[in-house]
Amino acid sequence: MPNNIKLPKILKVTLRNFSLFSKNPSITVDFNEGVFCLAGANGLGKSTFLLAINFGITGIVPDERRKFLSIERYYSDSIQFSSKFFSGRINENDRASAEVSLEMIVGEFRYNITRGMFEPQKIRELEVLKREGNKYTKLKDFSKLTFDQKHQEYIRLIPEHVGLETFEQLVFLQLFVLTFDERRELLFWNERVLERVLYLAFGINPEEAKHADVLRKEFEDADSNVRNFNWEATQLRKRIQEIEDQRDTKKEKGEKREDLRIQYSQLTQSREKALIEVNGLENDLRDINLQVGNLSAKQAQLRNEYENLFSTYISHKSIIEYHPLIATALSEGKCGLCGSEGEGVIVAVQQVVASESCPICGNKVAERNNQESEQVFTKLQEVDEQLSKLKQSLDSSLTAQQRIITELEVANNALSAVTQHLRVFENANKLKLEQYQTNTVSTELDTLIANMVNQMENAFAKKDSAIKRREKKSKELKELQKRLQRQYAIAEAEFVASFNKLAVSFLGLDLNIKMEVHQGIAGGISLLLDVNSTPRRQNYQLSESQRYFIDIALRMAIAQFLSDSSSKSTLYIDTPEGSLDIAYESRAGEMFAQFIKSGYQIVMTANINTSQLLHRLAARCKSDMKLLRMTSWTDLSDVQIQEEDLFNKAFAEIEEFLL
């Protein structure tokens, strides 16, 4: 059960010899509790700042072009990319000396690490301290280790302290869940990634999540193997056929050929029979499907007719006595029409009722109603009888349908078995048959064909075992998913409440997350978003900015769900470049503020377009928010200088709030 993961909380970062920040190549930033906001015009390197922090923690920079396969693969495949990423931002001369240092807290441990900007798998300095009472004491002395060894220690220790099983899982959480970067696909709408996150978040423990990841990959591997081996085998078969056609065919003689011929014809006949069986059953299935379809349609129609008749039947039962006006008059002695009161009213109304005619139009009601009612009821009985018979037919048709489906499956299996047997026989024995002819066969071709037949049989065998493997993995995966669903049902309350709270404050609407399990061999789970503003659903098209902020709310909810209460994590948000809908900006600020209030930390970037959001945030967070301008970090272009003026005005206002 989650709620005991202690994700890293960042205290301080230092960038050294970072040529991108031309005016100030060595920068130190202390992070406060609450919100840290790095503000500056576009293109100054705000995103780089966040990327550098994440690189420091994980050694990885996300490669947007790469398709996500699995948590393990993601880490290993990104190492190459990460080692070159900062090339554009750091001078050649500074390559070796450019580094990032971080100070962070993980539960009761404090980490001080330094990493070279081009060394994803090395750590230059590593210090791990453990808190005892009010002091921190060194856990171990790493100073004598090599950079590689320090890295090994780091990736061994930090997942343990965080509470995950592997370092790759930490990288995944850090880059996919805790970091929001609009250039990458949104978490909510990226099924593959979301599924992994769900397993991690709601799985029974990280071990199981890892297992699910592996299972999924194994299933997919087996699945693609099935296809590949099948293709390979069929290609081989074609090729073998071609080669054989090149040889002369002479008339076959001899007893042995006769034997083979008999065997061959027996096999061919078996196959014919099997094929006929399958075809017959397929026809039966088509017929029964049609029958079931017809019966179902008829049933729906009859039900409809029944309900209509019933309504009519009931409406004819309206009795004068129970009409509200009459009933009230009788019980209260007051006429609802004219207002008269007294005993006389009751007597008069009673007479009306006894006369069985309508007081307004004079028609003899009761008699007419009863007759009509009886007629309708008779029709109702007829339809009911029809419905009952139809249900019986439908039930037995459904049973028959099920039976035929099962039989068809068996027959199909039998057909493929006998077909394969036949083909193998054909190919193996054509060779033998040819061998009885003299002189026209070249040994080389023989050997070639024999080899190919061997390969083909191997391919078929591999395909079979791949099928078996795929079935097995699918079954295991489904069981895991079922367990997960149960666990989710329990966790749903906590997680949904927290997500709703955050998103409601943003969109102002009730949101609902539901988990869905997909059927079929592939399986898979995903989340659905429901926007309920009224008891009935409306289709909502979310705007881009709304989607962004829903995604951020989702990450916050997951972070809250995963985090241990003593160790609340940090969320990294690289604010979208485009402008947000003004209406939502201040609400977004509200959402961030709420997140902070519950003890979490946000490290975010901002530009001129996010000033509304920052206004709101500043107003709510006050001293919990720290705003840092990038002006002193780099030289500005002309365009950027112009923007700076606008900036100054906007941010002066915001800074006022913070005082």
């Binding site: 309900e307 019933f310 049902a489 749903e492 009730d510 539901k514 399990v517």
Partner: protein
Amino acid sequence: MNSLAFFDCLSIARRIQSQVGSVLSSELHTFAYLSCLLSLYKGNPVSEWGYDFIGIRQNAPYSQPIDDSKSNILRLGFFDIDKEQYIRVSPSGILEHDRLKLLKIYSRREQFIEGACSSILALPIGLIRNALSKEPNLLASQESNSVKALLDERSPSLVLLYDQFNALSSAVRIEMTNLMIPAIVWLSYLSKINEEKEGGMSNG
């Protein structure tokens, strides 16, 4: 007008009345829901019951068709209602019910309604109401902010319900048309496993 809900209303009211003298509006919804669950227990799909339920606050089930039917039945004079809101089936209501229950579309449902209402023989109504509120789908409906349809086929809590029913049917072991015992056993089970939870809230 939903004729199934109409019939169920009459049938449930009549049965409950015969045991405790009268029936309350909320009890119509409760026992309709319980009857529907028993139909699921017997392997019928959710869609076959004929009308839906939602979960409202305090973990109680509610069905609009049932409420509409109650109003219609009152208007037609088949129900009488007193000042305290207790409902009784009127003589004309009894006649109508006797007539309708011969139709096959309804006689199929009697098995489930009978099973549900017969639980009152062994368990007090208040206890039944309390126990049912701990049913997985009703429990889940309390957690979300929005009104939630009960027995949605994609919902995880339906899985939990079927788990319980599987256990129930292995425990009861014998196939019976009379569902009184599965109903009593299941409700007693829900009541018992939540006993500890209720008593344990000693610090508020």
